[in-house]
Subunit: 380 residues, 2 copies
Amino acid sequence: MGLPVVGMVGGGQLSRMTHQAAIALGLSLKVLADATHDSAALVANGVTVGDHTSLDDLRAFSEGCEVVTFDHEHVPNGLLEALEAEGLRIAPGSAALRHAQDKIVMRERLAALGIPVPPFTPVATVRDVEGFAKHVGWPLVLKAATGGYDGKGVWVVHDVEQAAEVVASGVRLVAEQLVPLRRELAAVVARSPYGQGAAWPVVETVQADGICVEVLAPAPGLSEERALEAQSLALRLADALEVVGVLAVELFETADGLVVNELAMRPHNSAHWTIEGARTSQFEQHLRAVLDYPLGATTQTAPWVVMANMLGGDDDGDLDRRLHMLFGRDPALKVHLYGKVVKPGRKIGHVTALGDDLDDVRRRAQVGAHYLRTGTWLED
Amino acid sequence: MGLPVVGMVGGGQLSRMTHQAAIALGLSLKVLADATHDSAALVANGVTVGDHTSLDDLRAFSEGCEVVTFDHEHVPNGLLEALEAEGLRIAPGSAALRHAQDKIVMRERLAALGIPVPPFTPVATVRDVEGFAKHVGWPLVLKAATGGYDGKGVWVVHDVEQAAEVVASGVRLVAEQLVPLRRELAAVVARSPYGQGAAWPVVETVQADGICVEVLAPAPGLSEERALEAQSLALRLADALEVVGVLAVELFETADGLVVNELAMRPHNSAHWTIEGARTSQFEQHLRAVLDYPLGATTQTAPWVVMANMLGGDDDGDLDRRLHMLFGRDPALKVHLYGKVVKPGRKIGHVTALGDDLDDVRRRAQVGAHYLRTGTWLED
């Protein structure tokens, strides 16, 4: 039918759910996976197993793709530049993606754009950290400049000794003020090469141990003014960085306003709720954006939508039996399983509840995710 | 994760969309396709190419499947019985499926159950047809007892000569009164082996040349009493025939009430609207039913949902360009493309519109499907 071929590097759940969206658009996602048992590799037809840090593997994979996109940030930027130089269309492009790959690059660029970020400085020595602590006080945050995710690569250090331990690990670091925050928000938008932007409602993300456990859409009690500010900031950032695809901007809400925490340039956990909760899901939108199709409507489909992550427990339980029990208790809950081997703390699925009453919707999502994880019902 | 394996015989769009639903449930549909370019074979990982009329191929395909289900009715019933005798779980079972495979069997059973059907009789000779015409008059309908779909295998004959032509073709036939109908409806339900039933809102189906072109959910102006009657009839039928999975009951609405036209025991065109338009889609529900999971909520997600089929035009146009134009005009329309080679009249996709105003929603669906097919906008 002459429809384009989209390649996605990475075989995780983001690829898996993007493939699901691709099917409706008449496409079949080509996936570059690490292994045949990767989440997306289990369900997609066009799977290549290869190394996303190998230029040869990336080049072979990209053959015949109209555009190549990503379910993670781990492809070395130099390889992306090399592929672009060979004429491959990559979305987001290497120049944009650097800001999601390197926190120092990101912080410096955002500061230059006048976008609020926490006080920060690159640090190489304990002395650097000490100097920075004089301005922001202890405790402060040390972050690996590259490669962190889900709380990994982030350390809250309370004194010089703790800082020394982190510095001794040898990773490139940025130090940041530990921002006194009320809560975390996310503004997720998409941008196409044509320059069209589209923003979903701003959400509240609830974290535990640095991992997102729950997303509330829209963010409860957020003023329209503040919501518009967050959406505008994200759209402006997408434009300034020339992002193509989904851009997730993780924000701290503080007494003094919004501060940008992290960026991701791909479908993001904070927008999984859009699968049922918005007229266009982030996965469809990401495909539309990278293909330069006009973007879809971002209208919310119910007054309240709550997504709860299902983190792996200590054993893999009997998921089949648990599904029976959960579906019996809540026939309207939507379950998404990623086909992943269960490991403690690993994101192995999520559930989404929708409805008119936030407390009820939130409770249903929490009960569902907890039950699938543990096989026990949360007490009232 | 210990989740079951579901096999689906047939690689058409129903398999394709069932695979999409399977992904969320942590599954990957195993598909028995006729060819690697079949609609579902393009997007699923576990594809076997084989002959669904070969017991050997069916047996090999079913290896390791917890349950095997179907995207069409063309597997000879005797083969299904043989597989069941070998211990394979088939859903729906061969005894139920016969009623969707053979119109004479279906008509006789429904009549015996006291469910309203048009006056009918099996016919083998022109004299049989003539005799039947004395009761119901000309024109009347001749139908192939087996193998018909989308208007194929259905003939409206006006006199003995026309009847003689059809009889001469040698196919097994049933003659039916040409029912004077107001409109066509469909009551789609699902039933699990446990015996749980769930019904979606009753819809109006709009046909052209015997092919469904549009589905309006819920059926406009249908009284609650009549809607309940249709749902009850379908649920009762599902129980009586021990259907497992989705059962679509196509109905004629006449001056005297409802009359059953056809049955299908699989996901059905008249419920494609449920993908976005109901809390649980027919594809997820079919999987839940065949796996004997508790069934999902069938609540409609918007006051009006209209699906319009996209039938192939005379050429395959430039679908990529048409998608650009259509998405630009209607960012909230949902498009589903099946990846099929375009042939005139062939179902190659569908679009779904949702909203508060039926006229508007219907117009959007019609405009979208027409544009994707022809590359021209319907005039106002």
